[in-house]
Amino acid sequence: MNQQIRRLSGVAMILLAALIVATTYWTTWARADLAAKQDNAIQRVAEFTIRRGRIEASGHLLAANRRRVVDSKPLFFRIYPKGPLTAQVVGYSTAARARTGLEKSLNDYLTASNESLSTFVDRSIAQLHGKPIQGNDVQLTLNLEAQRVALQALGTKCGAVAALDPRTGAVRVLASSPSFNPNLAERNFGAISKIRADCTPAAPLLNRATAGLYPPGSTFKVVTASAALQSGKFTPDSIFHDPGYCTEYGKQVHNFADQSGPEVFGTIRLYDALVHSVNSVFCNIGKELGAFAVLQQAKRFGFYKPPPLETPLEERLPSGLYQHGRLYYPVRESQVDPGRLAFGQERLLVTPLQMAMVAAAIGNDGREMRPYVVSRIVSPGGKTIVKTRPSRLAQPVSRDTAQQIQAMMLDVVHRGTGTAAAISGLRVGGKTGTAETGFSGRNTTWFICFAGPDDGSLPHIAVAVVLEGQTLTGGATAAPIARQVIEALLPSAGNP
């Protein structure tokens, strides 16, 4: 019988060895998949045993932890010391709700579950010691003082401010109004939905700076002007005739109240058409270039793709034409009205971050840098795991074109529609925008600009400001906010 006993032993050993293989599968191969499952109740609780990494900017804590013992186990709950200041960018991490913002997209780093060798070793050692796992700290590029100024300037208005360094792409301000207190997300989420502002719905959770879609109005003329100059068909000195309107499909499209100067300019250069924001000129440029040429130029600035940033993909929306709530790219020229497109109407919708990128690219002599908000990720041991190095995203326009448009935008602030953004001692170039929303007297107003010291160096900052439901123009409402943000970001230069 011994032969049979040996064979049966073999079967028994194979059965039990299969269990070790299966255990290995679930604890290693399938582990990440299991942890990522939406209904993983264990993971949802277990993540609270991890001391999440802190999020900080300019030396201030934006997200930290409070230790509380539950069921004889120390758990770490999130607190946000700066409250509403950076609520949409940083987001929140709670037991009851899905995470948002950087708390979501950087969750692996913040919980030290990113599998770099050093964090894996740190994590294993901490586990062996019975210490709570400690996540990696995240340092942001945000300037909290400027962020505060931006939020304060927005006040009860609905809107957003995006500011970044054109030379590197480092994001300095991402303010969205109204904001909310993320400390309420865990226990009193209802209070957040009761937040009121000058718009309905107030949507405080929406990061308007990266996911707010607005008609760009005349700020888009910067893109059209880029397309015009890049095409070689136009120069800043190209002459147009402005009758006060532009004829499209046999109808007159009138110039807008946003423009400065007389109602009808008569003979005007392209240069001055941008300075005074003359719709009829851009309407004719659009008709001459065609919709595709303008859209292609927009694409080169980054339209039709969510702008790169470390926040979750679903919290960043692409800019472009939208139809029935979806991004839309025409198949034929005739599907888009090139004249209205050229001065930023049509079905164009853009995000403040994208428009800040446009201003930054022009200001930086045509080199568009990849925007980033995370400067460094540091392990609990103090080692830098990730350090963001500035990189070029695109070259949407040539250096010559960029400098020609820079000159126009400088004159916008000097003597055109954006004089409210002028700061003595600084070189500020901008473009205003006032887009009709369909509700009479209610406009979406814009100001995009670049600014830097008046010493011939490249601009240090690019800003986009958008406001919802304004009765006045972009030059009157958005430009002053941009000025305050610039003054906060470049304080020494601003006070000679």
Binding site: T28, A41, G130
Partner: protein, 435 residues
């Protein structure tokens, strides 16, 4: 070193590991470090020391690894039970004490020649079938989680299947020893009693809706039949019969169907009808136990969270997985001590089974060989069915993990099985030496 001294040294090593494990759970539970934890440890250690002394007197030449391996599994089981539910942990400790008492009694009563059991084989066989049918009887039978496995007499709850398994092995060892030559010839009329067993297994399945137990009994039977007759064709025929039988019953047993569906598709992308008429994903509904158990295992990773640091409750403190200390104890263990620890536990089972098989190889007579191989293979199969179920290797069925899961009848039956293995091993060595 004598065999028994080696056993003692092994037991001391197990004691060190067990003390460390239990200490972690105790400190995590009470949130303080104190020698009080050692009182509980000392009580259990004392029990195993007593068991060791009984073995010294009654089975001095028995295999010296079996008792320490069981002690290791028992201490892991007690630690986990205490960790998950201190009250259950203490009850389990009482059951271990009773189990060791039964272990000692078995050794003492059968110390001269356990082979007297052979002559009661039909008594065992009939008793086993009666025990298996008990839970299906009205009044005393009780349905727990849709499976009839429990007998309820007054305040006492009893799961007779565990004892039935033991009796079945005893019956088969005696019966197959007697009939192996005739059975090997393959005459149809000799298969009467074996068809009865197949019928009994099917009946058990039908009555209790418990695929796991039926598979266990039938698997042990087929394994022992193969060892006795060396006919692979019987194994294949037996397997075919079981598949055929359960296939026929499958459509009739919604419980078994549900188990298989959960096994094949624990996660759904669309909502399905749930218990109380609501719609939900299956992972939140029928299969939530299995799915959460897998999450628990995944959370353990390589090294585990550490004993006492497992996540078993919500942030408010309510349990996340029901039956965690019985059916799902392996997933709690894996979360606590990770892949390394859980693989270690399975290795302990492998060594235990291998030593049991060795006992069978060394035994001199057919009854002893069949008894030992039946017990060892039963242990392996039971471990495979429950752990495999938890790991989604096979459909999940509610049977206990021997020596580890919470449950009195299981502990009792398994300790008696251990005593029988030691007796066989002892006899094999003394007769082998005498020859």
């Amino acid at each position: 070193m004598s065999l028994r001294n080696r056993e003692l040294v092994n037991l001391v090593l197990v004691g060190v590991v067990g003390t460390a494990a239990f200490g972690s759970a105790w400190i995590a539970h009470t949130n303080r470090v104190s020698a009080e934890a050692l009182v509980d440890v000392a009580l259990i250690a004392g029990l195993f020391l007593a068991a060791h002394l009984v073995v010294r007197r009654t089975a001095a030449q028995a295999d010296p690894t079996l008792l320490p391996l069981v002690a290791l599994l028992t201490s892991i089981g007690l630690t986990m039970n205490f960790r998950l539910n201190p009250a259950d942990g203490r009850r389990q400790a009482v059951w271990v004490a009773i189990g060791i008492l039964a272990f000692a009694l078995t050794l003492v009563l059968l110390r001269f020649d356990y082979r007297v059991l052979e002559q009661y084989r039909y008594v065992f066989g009939v008793t086993a079938i009666i025990l298996l049918l008990l839970p299906s009887l009205p009044v005393i039978g009780q349905r727990v989680n849709g499976v009839r496995l429990w007998v309820h007499v007054g305040r006492l709850q009893f799961q007779p299947g565990e004892v039935a398994k033991l009796l079945l092995v005893l019956f088969l060892a005696g019966y197959l020893r007697e009939k192996r030559e005739v059975l090997a010839q393959g005459r149809l009329k000799d298969f009467g009693p074996l068809l009865v067993i197949w019928g009994a297994a099917m009946l058990v399945l039908l009555q209790t809706s418990d695929l796991g137990s039926a598979l266990l009994y039938f698997g042990v039977f087929v394994g022992m039949l193969y060892v006795a007759t060396d006919r692979l064709s019987y194994v294949l025929a037996g397997g075919a019969l079981f598949v055929l039988g359960s296939g026929l019953l499958y459509s009739a047993l919604s419980r078994v169907q549900a188990r298989v569906i959960i096994w094949l598709h624990p996660w759904t992308d669309h909502k399905i009808p749930c218990f109380n008429g609501t719609l939900d994903y299956r992972q939140n509904c029928q299969s939530y136990q299995l799915v959460r158990s897998l999450y628990s295992i995944g959370n353990g990773g390589y090294g585990g969270t550490g004993i006492g640091r497992e996540t078993t409750t919500t942030l408010a403190g309510t349990p996340l997985i029901p039956e965690l200390n019985t059916d799902f104890i392996f997933s709690a263990i894996t979360q606590g001590i990770g892949l390394i620890g859980a693989a270690g536990v399975i290795l302990v089972f492998m060594v235990l089974v291998a030593r049991g098989m060795r006992v069978s190889l060394l035994a001199q007579d057919g009854f002893s060989k069949l008894l030992a191989v039946g017990l060892a293979f039963g242990l392996a199969l039971q471990t495979f069915i429950i752990v495999g179920g938890v790991l989604r290797v096979v459909p999940l069925t509610g049977i206990t993990l021997p020596f580890v899961s919470y449950g009195g009848s299981s502990v009792l039956a398994n300790f008696i099985a251990l005593a029988l293995l030691l007796l066989v091993s002892h006899r094999a060595r003394i007769t082998g030496a005498a020859r």
